[in-house]
């Protein structure tokens, strides 16, 4: 019930005195302010825990230490090349994952027979941990970009595949019938009806995959020793340079935030028609 009340109050009719443009500006800034407050609170709590000794700074660095280390990164060419290598592996891996999983997901979502045929294989393969495949990937590809990409794809394609498959199943049957009754051919039906209809699911899958891909890139660099931020983390770990290690980890996680912000923005554009987007304008349309 609180939720209802909150919604109501949030969007209560504005008083006549309230300047509308100022109100809208405030409204636009509010989410950003919320975020800053939330992030600041977490950092403060972490720093306090470090000071109080709840977190041993020898095994987990404090925010202050991390910031101290972070400021040295911009001037460090090794950092930039590692960052570049990681981003490259991540981007290629993610694009490939989507490029493979999306069509396959569409096909398996559209055909029950195909799905049943592949069910065992898919459920089997997606439980094979990429971590365990590192030695094999190393043997075949060496500590290279290819190795990273392969491991990333092996892990990150599954969410996209599954979400796409379910998404296809969830396309409004009336949309499908409409397409069918107008004898839209298969390709056009997929492009104009199935993919957009499944897109809420697909978008979720891509967002899951994007972060997984990042983690897998870093993980394969760390374990397999390919150049990148993960390798740097490994080196810092072996050297017990906790500040540097955590600074690097923060960079990785910040990349994750960035990646998701970009995706959320893209999603907002591509899916501007979807309830998740239009409910916002509905609610704010006062």
């Amino acid at each position: 019930m609180k939720v209802l009340v909150a919604e109501g109050r949030d969007h209560a009719p504005p008083g006549p005195s309230r300047s509308r443009s100022a109100g809208r500006r405030r409204e636009a800034l509010r989410p950003a302010a919320d975020k800053v407050v939330a992030v600041a609170a977490v950092i403060a709590a972490w720093q306090l825990a470090s000071w109080a000794g709840v977190i041993d700074t020898r095994s987990i660095a404090s925010p202050a230490q991390i910031v101290g280390e972070l400021v040295s990164f911009p001037g460090d060419p090794a950092f930039w090349s590692a960052l570049g290598a990681t981003l490259q592996g991540w981007a290629i891996g993610l694009v490939l994952s989507v490029a493979i999983a999306l069509p396959v997901g569409l096909a398996l979502g559209s055909s029950e027979i195909a799905y049943r045929s592949c069910r065992f294989t898919i459920d089997f393969l997606r439980t094979i941990p990429p971590v365990a495949l590192v030695p094999l990937a190393l043997l075949i590809y060496g500590a290279t970009l290819e190795m990273k990409v392969v491991l990333v794809v092996l892990g990150a394609c599954w969410p996209v595949l599954l979400q796409t498959m379910s998404g296809v199943h969830q396309v409004d049957p009336v949309s499908r019938e409409t397409a069918r009754s107008y004898r839209l051919d298969r390709a056009r039906t997929i492009v104009w009806v199935v993919v957009p209809g499944a897109s809420p699911f697909i978008a979720t899958g891509v967002r899951i995959a994007a972060t997984m891909a990042l983690i897998l890139t870093i993980g394969s660099e760390l374990i397999g020793g390919a150049p990148g931020l993960g390798q740097q983390i490994g080196l810092a770990e072996v050297a017990t340079d906790v500040s540097r290690m955590y600074a690097l980890i923060v960079v990785c996680a910040a990349l994750g935030v960035l990646v998701n912000a970009v995706l959320a923005r893209a999603e907002g554009r591509v899916m501007s028609w979807h309830v998740s987007q239009t409910m916002r304008t509905r609610a704010h349309s006062a």
């Binding site: 209802l4 919604e7 109501g8 109050r9 009719p13 304008t281 509905r282 704010h284 349309s285 006062a286």
Partner: protein
Amino acid sequence: MAESATTPAVAARRPAEPPDTAGERHSALLSVQRLTKSYPVPEGRRTVVEDLDLDVRPGEIVTIVGPSGAGKTTLLRCIAGLLPASSGQVVIGGRPVTGPPEQLAVVFQDYSRSLMPWLSVRHNVELPLRGKNVPRDERRRRVTDALADVGLGHTAEQHPWQLSGGMQQRVAIARALAYRPQAMLMDEPFASVDAQTRADLEDLVLDLRQRLDITILLVTHDIDEAVYLGDTVVVLGGRPTRVRERLTVPLGRDRDQATTKALPEFVRLRTHILTGIREGAS
């Protein structure tokens, strides 16, 4: 509301009088005051409804007619507290509406989407009652009655997507009936049912008001229906939409499909509205 009763010939083309008559205000259960609503569009905002005033007394049936896209649904959604007004306000029972008010049931125009596909017909109708903490037995009874009232006693265990369009629409009506609200907002509630069922449902609405004194605001495109059901018919029109006309229907409360519709008063009103609409359109 007597003072606003004008003969159609006089009232035509005249905007509704300013709703500042103190006496009327006080007796209104529901009052829409200078309501303006605009939607965001790429080019800025489009004002759909502007400075609209409307009063509904307790137990009154107000029917709303107006061209497609005039803003009838928008108006209803504002009254239901689902959509915030851009300016102006809606007052129900003396309090301004900021969220969905209590004791109000809405029958949505988009009936097929307003039923939850995961619930059986029975549970769809029952859901609001569970929220109201109506005891179990009472709930069962009310659901059964409401479904029987709309002629769907036999479909209780089916799911909405197993029903025809008209049946779905009737389930949505049954849900509102079972809720036993003080006021009901109905957005083209009989659009998809056949003539006979429609007549039956119209009479059900009249009966409901008679027995339970429910206040009803009903949007329809059927002018006959608007006149047959309404104590007042509100004609919307213009761009942005305002109240074009507000007609009191002098047919009393006892109405009957065959006889009422043959009354000269009925025919006159109906023709008047139709002519008005046609002129407005051309």
